[in-house]
Point group: C2
Chain length 465, copies 2
């Protein structure tokens, strides 16, 4: 491990390593899958664990913030004084589902460290990234009996299902969450030797379309060829989402897309990108996407549509000679500034209804919507973050756009504060997939970086200038 | 019930009704699902049940015929003498899967009689239709201590998975199964007041295509838009199977299709067809299919391609923001004379491979192939069958083509004998679907008709002239 010897928390990491790892593993053992109602009690257990963690680290006013869905967790330390900035640290304690579970090399909720990497669902997304922020607070409080900024932790419980109740929570708790800056601890960087910080995240519109073509499944020999087939209807929808140029076919989809600024264009172009290595990392043998765009543009700067699931008819062993009566397709649309989630959701629904064959019905249900988010690269707080990243990772960070989507747009908008992204994830961490991992060296660097960031931000004055 | 009072087995039905119904229900309680390896022992139990049934009814040389897969059952009665025809009666004792099981109004393997209909998986397809043949033998043996023809029962155990080992079995057992005629008891008629007999059955090529686009599922935000998506690949295959005219797009698919004969064309045109009623029966609100063809042509006389299942990515509640790495599509192609299953399977595989995006691999596995079958309508045995159907159902039967596919082609070809179809199924019996039923009145008529058929065939001499 290569922590900067002069960093304030390097000795704390050496002293507390085993305890912190044990805490990480204990949290990762809670299967807090927010997408699955059967795991609702685990999400609550995870919230309780997080609340205890915050209290134990020295945070105050710790509270479980209830929502209509899964609870968030709050805790603060507000003794830095009125001349110091107040920062909200955001993360989430819920995790993605684990299927196909048979592809995991170790059980997803039995964390295992192998070769300096911690394998478990939620390791990097996002329990690990919340934990280093909390432990940095504990370390600074132990050293100084205080923090240079006022901190407020907000750890959500529904991020992995599209944060359906998050904006309402922010509105309700706006006073408690009043701040000058927001630090999101849920993203990544290009590589350990290529630190980067995110300055934009894509939005998300997630939709489930379930079609019905008949009262029940029909015999494919007796009825096939003359009746509509639900599996074929959803296949046609899924296949029709893109044209031959790889462009999304929803009418007006690209109309509101804002072109990249010159600074971002320059940063994007300067990212050394090894396509072969990226493909190996992704585990793919071919690339495809919007014509005329580079891979980095496709995954970060351009809006996309992906079929995240398709199901209809018989999926078991062998064959069942039926015409399926129902089928569904789930689609995740990633949005960039200035696309509007509501407008895109509406365009999608209209597009589906226009394409349904006669006599076929569809239920279209939104499964979450998040607007795209941007942070101005010339903001002084971004400069402070860049100095910290350079100090801990050894070179100045590049600016990236994160392909993922989070509730950051609502955070920035409702709390009216700039959003910084301190994230230590790596492209090969397999978030949302089997064998999610966190590289432990990145975790420790994240902890040290969090300890460096607060003094840098404190020095900016209020509001962060 | 309206059994002809002069039919030889009408009194037998009155006397033995309760015992026969109890036997039917006992057999239907065995979940002999051949598609599901977990039910392999049930298929064996069903074979044992069938063997006991044949012995008990008076058949001899009863044997379980092993295959590489599920066993068939054999039994014969060969004392009619060398101047009488020998007939193979074919049926099957395996059944289709039952999902979606929640749509059944009563448990699929707890047979229930409601309003003169027996509800259970396998009621009409095909245990009921085997049972009336066996009980007709029992009835005639009780009346006459003998049968007018030599009979051989062959009850298969893998019909619902495309009879993968049936032709091998026929080849191996060719001597034991030597015969002058084959009677298949596994089809249906247009309506109780519109008796019909099948003179052609479509063939079947069933294929599973499983594609892989990456080592594992990927995050749709981080990789989406730049990597191939397995769910989209199978959706494109499924959607690409038909052109805008509803024609199957496989190159050369229609080349070998033999036009209907004038007699069949006339019979098909004379079938009174109420499209509204048919749609209500099917439970659909729209029709679609090959342009320029009637519904009856589409379901019986034309080859088709149906997606019987499509599966990829996340199918649970809510959303999971992944790019699926694997997905599969199952397709059932129905063939008509003179399409060749091997040629069609090859064309399908070539078509799939041609359409795979770069870097995407596919496993294509055949899940059964059956050639289409035809019986000449002017064969004297067809005439005998028509007289029996008229006697029991009150009017001369129409000739139909069965949309389904069975192992009849191999039976006729390997045993070198004409194939007759005595079947009492009705279009609304929901075979292969939830709430499969058998109309009990049709069952009793089938029993009586089987008892009438043997004397009619005996009178034809050998070979059936």
């Amino acid at each position: 491990m290569t922590l900067p010897p002069t960093a304030r928390l390097t000795p704390f990491v050496s002293a507390d390593r085993d305890r912190i790892v044990a805490t990480l593993h204990a949290w990762l053992r809670i299967p807090s899958i927010s997408a699955d109602p059967d795991h609702a009690h685990d999400v609550r257990d995870s919230a309780a664990f997080c609340a205890n963690l915050l209290s134990d680290a020295g945070l105050e006013h710790v509270a479980i913030l209830e929502t209509v869905g899964a609870p968030a967790v709050y805790g603060d330390w507000l003794h830095a004084g009125p001349d110091r900035p107040t920062v909200v640290v955001y993360g989430h304690h819920d995790v993605q589902p684990v299927d196909p579970v048979e592809l995991w090399h170790s059980a997803p909720f039995e964390p295992e460290e192998r070769d300096g990497e911690c394998f478990a669902r939620g390791a990097i997304d996002d329990k690990g990234q919340v934990l280093y922020e909390v432990e940095a607070v504990r370390g600074l409080l132990r050293l100084d009996a205080g923090l240079p900024v006022n901190l407020k932790f907000l750890v959500e419980g529904e991020e992995e299902v599209g944060s359906p109740h998050f904006e309402t929570l922010l509105q309700t708790e706006r006073e408690r969450l009043r701040c000058d800056l927001i630090v999101v601890s849920d993203t990544g960087m290009l590589a350990p030797d290529l630190p980067s910080t995110c300055v934009a995240m894509r939005g998300l519109v997630a939709v489930d379309v379930t079609v019905r073509t008949a009262r029940g499944d029909l015999h494919s020999g007796l009825f096939g060829g003359a009746v509509p087939n639900a599996a074929r209807v959803v296949a046609e929808l899924a296949a029709g989402l893109h044209d031959d140029e790889g462009r999304v076919t929803l009418p007006g989809f690209y109309d509101a897309v804002r072109p990249l600024s010159a600074a971002e264009q320059a940063s994007l172009a300067s990212i050394p990108f090894d396509e072969e290595a990226w493909m190996a990392q992704a585990g793919v043998f071919g690339l495809q996407g919007e014509a005329g765009r580079t891979t980095l543009e496709r995954v970060g700067a351009r809006p996309t549509a992906e079929v995240v699931g398709i199901t209809g008819g018989y999926g078991g062993a062998g064959i069942k000679t039926i015409v399926p009566a129902t089928a569904s397709v789930k689609v995740a649309l990633r949005l960039v500034p200035d696309q509007d989630p509501d407008a895109v959701a509406k365009a999608f629904e209209d597009w589906v209804r226009d394409r349904l064959p006669a006599g076929v019905t569809a239920e279209i249900s939104g499964e979450g919507a998040v607007a795209p988010a941007v942070t101005p690269v010339d903001h002084p707080a971004v400069g402070a973050l860049c100095r910290v990243l350079e100090r801990v990772w050894g070179r100045p960070p590049l600016f990236t756009r994160e392909g993922g989507s989070g509730p950051e747009e609502a955070l920035g908008r409702v709390l009216d504060a700039p959003v910084l992204f301190l994230g230590v994830g790596l492209p090969d961490d397999r978030i949302h997939a089997p064998n999610e991992r966190m590289v432990m060296d990145q975790f420790w660097r994240g902890l040290v970086a969090a300890g460096e960031l607060w003094p840098e931000l404190a020095a900016l004055g209020i509001p962060a200038r």
